[in-house]
Symmetry: C2
Subunit: 261 residues, 2 copies
Amino acid sequence: MPVMTRTVTAAVMLIGDEILSGRTQDTNLRTIAHFLQPLGVQVREARVVPDVRETIIATVNELRARFDYVFTTGGIGPTHDDITADSMAAAFGDTIDVREDARAALLAHYPQRGLELTEGRLRMARIPASATLIANPVSGAPGFQIGNVFVMAGVPSVMRGMLQDIGHRIEGGAVIHARTVRAKGLREGDLSQPLRDLSETHAAVSLGSYPWMRTDAEGRPDYGVALVARSADAAALDAAASALAELVRAQGQTPEIDPVD
Amino acid sequence: MPVMTRTVTAAVMLIGDEILSGRTQDTNLRTIAHFLQPLGVQVREARVVPDVRETIIATVNELRARFDYVFTTGGIGPTHDDITADSMAAAFGDTIDVREDARAALLAHYPQRGLELTEGRLRMARIPASATLIANPVSGAPGFQIGNVFVMAGVPSVMRGMLQDIGHRIEGGAVIHARTVRAKGLREGDLSQPLRDLSETHAAVSLGSYPWMRTDAEGRPDYGVALVARSADAAALDAAASALAELVRAQGQTPEIDPVD
């Protein structure tokens, strides 16, 4: 069976001063990457940008031209610093106003939870005219898709909820699988030449080497290298994983081989 | 006393396929932002880019022109996928080779730890000709500064070690302080109009609103809003924090006010 070779790419755009200031630790990039991997979409770049209209517009316009899909998080709440929806409309040259379908999504959620549809909350029904809504099963206020851009909330639980309404819209390509071979007690410097050779003989596979250094529960140094092979070609991936394990054994260590992911 | 108003900006560039694939959760952005804040340097953008030479070159050339400083992490180890040093030399039109000062840094570290200076490890002494070294107290192999770009390791403990040799090289500007007022039991939609008014009357201050939603240890919903004021002007910041606390009390809740950070 021939390997499916169409490559589908994505960029992730995290919008918010709070990530750049270090106040908030982002976890959405990783969630999105894990969500897209089995769909056959490869995240090739991520940006963190501040809550500045011109920056948001310029960044989304650059990314949507360069990648098949763009996923944004943040800036779609009810407060004055939530400027993502208006910025997206401007980036696409679209109009924006309160939309009835979005208002209905809010009304389906708020009264039964004892919440009032205040003017501030109604602002979350402002959606660009050409966009389609992304359902928010967690807190009601929808995200939206405009062109190849998916606009989601920044709160991780809400973003995860929105991803449930996105998978069916994605046309993916080759699924990149990974095999990880862990070599406890080895250092990258012990492996660099054989790894380089291996990367040349296994050209269908991308090989990465990720050292770890930490202290275990008893205060002893715990170090090693995780060798990761990635490929859309399952047979090539298996061959590379076997070769990596052999390389670790040749250094006198016992490899731990993770299942495919 | 006049407020110090010079604004000094930085971008952070995280290099590595493993962050984009979701395999590795980045924490370096947050560490760098927290390190720079008291030095008077504001992180204004972050990028995550893959281990692709042309992308690294284009990205660092764009960022070093747009920001006062650029901080990179990742890709300076001994293996074939570590291409950051060579990419930086190319970006600056500089030559690169094994340097004696860098080799000395490796030799000062390895033999006493029983490590051999293999050909792979010697690769970590490849440093662009015009760069100055950044000491690595954790694992020996140095980072480097080239122009306004600081090139550091990706392993968090090693990167933190390298930051110790960077602070003295930074000329910072206005230090942005933050005050956080927490309003448990409130939702953003309850606050959006008064917050908007407050952001207009406190123009010297940037106001952000960050909702949280989680489940506490007993399984009950725990929600609220963190209201964050940021400014280089201490008096304006205090006034804004008081006004934010008052706004929370007006909604019938008790504000928790964090100390300045």
